[in-house]
Amino acid sequence: MVLTDVPTKIVYERPESLDPRVTHYCPGCTHGVAHRLVAEVLEEMGEIENTIGVAPVGCSVFAYNYFDFDFVEASHGRAPAMATGIKRVLPDCIVFTYQGDGDLASIGMGEIVGAASRGELITVVFINNANYGMTGGQMAPTTLPGQKTTSSPTGRDVNRQGYPIQTAELLSTLEGSAYIVRRSLHSVREIRQAKKAIRTAFEVQKHGLGFSLVELLSTCPTNWGLTPVEARDWIEERMIPVFPLGDYKISPAVADLKI
């Protein structure tokens, strides 16, 4: 009899509900992390077969290729409206949107405020990377003052181009919002916090407690002109002062929720 040590115990592996497909996201783009967290949370909740996702227009326009559950494709900004339509007729399904800054905070502002104010029982995963990624790095409502983008080439001039919109803060003022938080994906610690927030958000929906949204500060190495590692530092040093992490709205019912 011989005792041998073999690395057979799997401590972590790729979730089954992520399709075995290479993503088109850039190296180091934290969309991949966000996708993974959503897949893990829904798997852990046993809701994969009961979920319908709504994909946006943006870098994640093909999100429906990466998750192994039902998905629909919205037009730009309208995902919260589509999600409303689906959830109102299929109230027992988990319905979520996955949106970027242009989709949610620019063209879709009417739809997101409408959905939040109505307290729609949907969950929104909001990826904030301070620019319009898919179309090549233009200024977004979340672009920082002074930040250079392809449509603010000398840096965002607040006098002519206004100030960034702080979505979590904005939506937290609405009575229909039950759970509005901002997290980040730029470090291991923050990723773990983000996963907990995403879990809470979906539980809020499952318990019918109101509208839930998790804003996730994400990297965009390509359009920021930084390496993936530098891009994470940029979130820490530049984005967090403008978009502080934290819990912006926790309704009393959500506070009592035991997960």
């Binding site: 559950f69 998905f71 494709e73 007729v89 009417g110």
Partner: protein, 371 residues
């Protein structure tokens, strides 16, 4: 069921409900708001979905979402609101999911006014959202017809996985007439095999209108076109009045057709052999009957409450073989039967021509009338 005196908008709303409407998403806009208001009370009463959206943009996208689940869903609006919905309609068509749009048309363009018009014919029949697609468009001329066509709209939408528009002139939406509402249908229980529903052990379904690969998009476009050919074959609807021995034919849809009927009857009293062709499906367009009439009548008079939009579709079929004249009022002005009778008499007196464009001749006459 007995007839009741009921307003067009209300009747259409209740008819949709009884046809098994499972979700309504809309936004207030005159002259169709009563439809929204009626459903805001009735849908929750029956435990069905109702949302007054943040805008027509929101409403049409809520329709899009619900349509992806295979449920019976509807929205309603009027001209400026329908313009806002155009993107959503294109997406719905591109995803091949069924939905019903009730368009209660008012004077335009722009904010226009809240009076009845037919100025959106081109928008709904020929244009609308971007891309190669067609909506089935049904044009009622009475409250009863609006009720019946609304019920039909859901069946057609599902049969063909196509958008269906019920095109009401503002007048039809607003007026009160006796009409019989259909009995309450039970809600559909089954889910189509293309609908999203949560996989529940089955295969994942994705509903999208993206086709990045042009050959793949073309295959999809071809599918839509073949479907349209099927629809053209099977879903032509129109009504003919006094056509058997007609020497002149008035062509008009909706309210214009209805007003023209009064004029045609008055003309018959005067011994003029005139008939009326009232298209009920303006898309697909009743080409065959117009072609048949072209062989045997002396001339056509197209009457519309716009600047001559269906006129061009009639001319396309007639192909210059017989004279086609036009009479219209625009901007929400509703013509009187007398005006149409005068036009019929002018047609009979002649001389008529197949040269030039009837719109220009009409504009010259209209300029004299209204300056």
């Amino acid at each position: 069921m007995a007839k009741e005196l009921i307003k067009g908008n209300t009747a259409v709303a209740e008819a949709a409900l009884r046809a098994g409407l499972q979700a309504y998403f809309g936004y207030p806009i005159t002259p169709q708001t009563e439809l929204l208001e009626h459903l805001s009370a009735r849908m929750p009463e029956l435990g069905r979905a109702f949302v007054q959206a943040e805008s027509e943009l929101g409403a049409i996208n809520m329709v899009y979402g619900a349509a992806c689940t295979g449920k019976r869903v509807m929205t309603s609006s009027s001209s400026p609101g329908v313009s806002l919905m155009m993107e959503g309609l294109s997406y719905i068509a591109g995803t091949e999911v069924p939905a019903v749009l009730v368009d209660v048309v008012r004077g335009g363009p722009g904010l226009g006014n809240i009076a009845p018009a037919q100025g959106d014919y081109n928008q709904i029949v020929h244009g609308g959202g971007h891309g190669d697609y067609h909506m089935i468009v049904l044009a009622p001329a009475s409250v009863q017809e609006a009720v019946d066509l609304t019920v039909l709209a859901f069946d057609l939408a599902e049969k063909y996985r196509n958008l269906v528009a019920v095109l009401l002139d503002g007048s039809i939406g607003q007026m009160m007439e006796p009409a019989e509402l259909p009995p309450m249908q039970p809600l559909k229980q089954d889910t189509p095999d293309w609908a999203v529903r949560g996989t529940h052990g089955g295969e994942k379904r994705v509903l999208t209108s993206i086709n990045l690969d042009p050959p793949a998009q073309e295959v999809m476009n071809l599918r839509l076109m073949k479907r349209w050919q099927e629809i053209e074959k099977n879903e032509i609807r129109y009504k003919g009045y006094y056509l058997d021995d007609a020497e002149y034919v008035v062509v008009g849809f909706g309210t214009a057709g209805r007003i023209s009927l009064s004029a045609v009857r008055a003309a018959r009293e005067k011994g003029i052999k005139v008939g009326l062709l009232r298209p009920i499906s303006v898309a697909p367009f009743p080409e065959a009957i117009i072609d048949e009439l072209t062989q045997r009548v002396k001339a056509f008079l197209v009457v519309e409450m716009n600047s001559g939009q269906m006129l061009d579709d009639v001319r396309l079929v007639v192909r210059g073989r017989k004279p086609v004249e036009f009479f219209g009022r625009m901007g929400g002005v509703v013509p009187f039967p007398d005006e149409v009778l005068t036009e019929i008499e002018r047609l009979v007196e002649g001389p008529l021509t197949t040269e030039g464009h009837p719109r220009n001749r009409w504009l010259a006459r209209l300029t004299e009338t209204i300056g």
